[in-house]
Symmetry: C2
Subunit: 241 residues, 2 copies
């Protein structure tokens, strides 16, 4: 039986005070570490529990924040915050680097073995860390087949795994093709999983209130995408006991 401990960490980024969730595995030694990036609305308990679940497996995990502790319930307010961010690789990278610094500063973190997993906006940030040349062991993105500035993908040094819903109108086929063409041209070790029938944010349990069109939960594929991410980590961040 393992015991995960977690706590809130505050740190500055993007002109905001970010409120992340740090989860530490049982034991005392250094362990491989994982950044978990949240969806556009922000960090919520769903991704905090994901962080805890990865810590149960033995990873040091930071579920990072992109919105200064807020979780946007209003889709329009969320888009007003997130769309400019997604259009600005340098801002995305600054948010990613701030989170990475927090994770690396943890004494339990093995700074040479870090992976980045992100969902939606958090996935775009994970990819930008790769395009910035950060030494990651793996990048996983769900619902984020986002492209970068020309040529920069060649700086990605690790396997990239991307999962997307076939019916996702926010990441449509043309966007997926542009992403895979970028990865292939850059010589990246990449994979794309297309989950049949799923729409945007299929991995996330349904939330109350207004949601964007084209967004919806697909419990079966959500479970598979989680399994796929865990498999990627097992491949690229093996947990040597």
């Amino acid at each position: 039986m393992t015991t995960v401990t977690s706590h809130t960490v505050e740190y500055p980024a993007d002109g905001l005070t970010m409120v992340g969730h740090l989860a530490l595995p049982a034991g005392t030694g250094r362990r491989p570490a994982v950044l978990v990036g949240p969806e556009g609305p922000g960090l919520n308990d769903f991704q905090r529990r994901r962080a805890d679940a990865l810590a149960e497996l033995g990873y040091v995990v930071l579920a990072f924040d992109i919105n200064g502790g807020r979780w946007f319930t209003d889709p329009q307010e969320m888009l007003a915050h997130v769309m400019p961010l997604l259009a600005d690789p340098d801002r995305m990278r600054s948010i990613g680097h701030a989170a990475l610094d927090v994770l690396r500063a943890q004494p339990r973190t093995d700074p040479d073995r870090i992976a980045a997993v992100g969902y939606g906006t958090g996935g775009a940030i994970a990819l930008e860390l790769g395009r910035d040349g950060v030494d990651l062991r793996a990048i996983a993105t769900v619902n984020a087949t986002t492209t970068g500035r020309p040529g920069e993908a060649a700086r990605i040094r690790c396997p990239v795994w991307a999962g997307v819903g076939s019916e996702d109108p926010i990441m449509p086929p043309a966007q997926r093709e542009a992403f895979t063409a970028e990865m292939q041209a850059a010589g990246v070790d990449w994979r794309l999983v297309v989950y049949g029938g799923a729409v945007h944010a299929f991995h996330h349990p349904s939330v109350e209130g207004a949601v964007l069109p084209g967004v919806g939960h697909h419990p079966l594929h959500a479970q598979r995408a989680w399994r796929d991410v865990v498999d990627l980590l097992a491949e690229c961040l093996p947990l040597t006991k």
Copy 2:
């Protein structure tokens, strides 16, 4: 420690005497069962060992034959045999049904829990069994995003998983799209994994002698595709002890 026993089984199909490889898991009880379909050249030791590996996990497995015991070393001879077969769903089904009958007749097989896994031509046959309405628990195809006769995919009752190399000239993007469109229109629970940079038959260790253009081994993705197939079986054919 488990002990797998295996033996050769001969049975008639497609006007030939097929020479399959049956692998039985340790124990005596009924177990879920898997058909393993080989590539166009035929059944060889690679797929026989795959069958044994699945039997180690606890499945009853028949690696079936499509070429009457032959393994074509000459690509042109192989194509002359395989291309007419791939153009004839009824012939593919008859080969698949004959194999299924052999597997179902095994006392160790739980006839209500059978999956079909196939590579290239064997994958096309697995899909045709689904389109024929066979009660399978899962269909996995590697390098075989083949489409069927209009409307028949609606008879597929189980999850379909397909893996393909991004640079496969024999299963190019348009073919992949036609396949996923067919699955989606039919309401099938489907997934497609695109393995970046891989070409046709990427799962198979390189063979001596002449090979077709666009064919080549990708050891890393080969390992991942195998993991993905095992995960699919774990999901759809759980091994209750």
